[in-house]
Amino acid sequence: MKNQSILVSILIIILFLGVSFFAFNFFSGRISSLTSQIDASNSEQKKLQEKISILQAASKDILASGEIVTLALPADNPMVYVVSQIKRYSQDLNLKVTNIRTTDIGTKSRDLLKSTVELNVTGPYQGTISLLEKVRRSFPLTIVDKVTIDPLATEFRATIDISSYWASFPEKIPALTETITALSSSESATLSQISSFDKPQFVELPPASASGARANPFAP
């Protein structure tokens, strides 16, 4: 009888060891998986909260900034606007612009395309310098590559090479959980530097008025 009791106790102990082993394995696996999931979710939450605070802070001015940077560096060749700006400034400064020719289209760097226009400007010296100053402080962004100024009988003739740039818009935005950073101080400085640049003047056509609707040619 006593021996049976010992045997039962030993069996219980063996059973305990077996069950403990499986229980330990099960719970340790489950707990470690839960802990790692909680850690991952916590870090994701931190990233999301950071992202929200950055986006909420940026939402005030980002619309205007987006417009400025798009005018500065459009997605398509802005040469038409560059020439239009030059003509507008030349008119204001009593300069005559001739021989406008686009010389080449190339790449400045990866994703950044460049087009160069060469033109002759005739007029007073100070007017030519003012034109260059105005062009370099206007949208779309341009770089004066080369200038040659020669005196004529009563005025000066300048040959100017100006490059303008464009780059296609990004096609993908980062994943929701991917971190995003606010504008750095150097980026903000660049933005404020170009914010004062002169914008191209777009002509807006007025919508056709109802009174000006064409008459029905098939009307009896």
């Binding site: 106790s9 305990f16 939450q45 950044l112 590559d145 200038v147 020669d150 980026e187 660049t190």
Partner: protein
Amino acid sequence: MTNNINLLPNDLNKSSGVGFVSMLFKRVSIILVVILFISVAFGVVFVIIQTRNLDNINKKNNELTSQIQKLNQTEQRLFLVKDRISKIETVLGDKTSEESIGHLDQTVSSMSSDLAFKSVKISGPATTLTLGASNSKIIDQFLNFLANGSSAYTQVLLKNLGYNADLGYLVDLQLF
């Protein structure tokens, strides 16, 4: 003389050693079973609490994600602005000719009216300036101004100095 007579069957014969071991095993097994139950209970409670925690965190994350989705337009704009600015910085990093234009304007405006401006060529950081003067003293004064009175250029190269009886002095300068 007394004799201890045991009338119980032999297999039930009391043995103090075996009884102690039996009792010990019994107690140990009971304690272990209790420990097992308590541990399992703790494990289950812990797993439930952690699962709830995870659910709460995930719920909060879903709310944050939907908030971000509402700010999607701002995110797109911010991404666009950052992309454009990085490229604009590349373009603006190349404004060497434009600095030269500013320096030229500054130099020409401080030039004596006796100096005749003949031509100028600006290409990158280099400015090639051709000037005419009726006497060499005016040229000397201007060179002195470039070297000591102006901070526009760090290097002034006198490329050519000529004299013609009809045109006077002609000087070619290369400025950096």
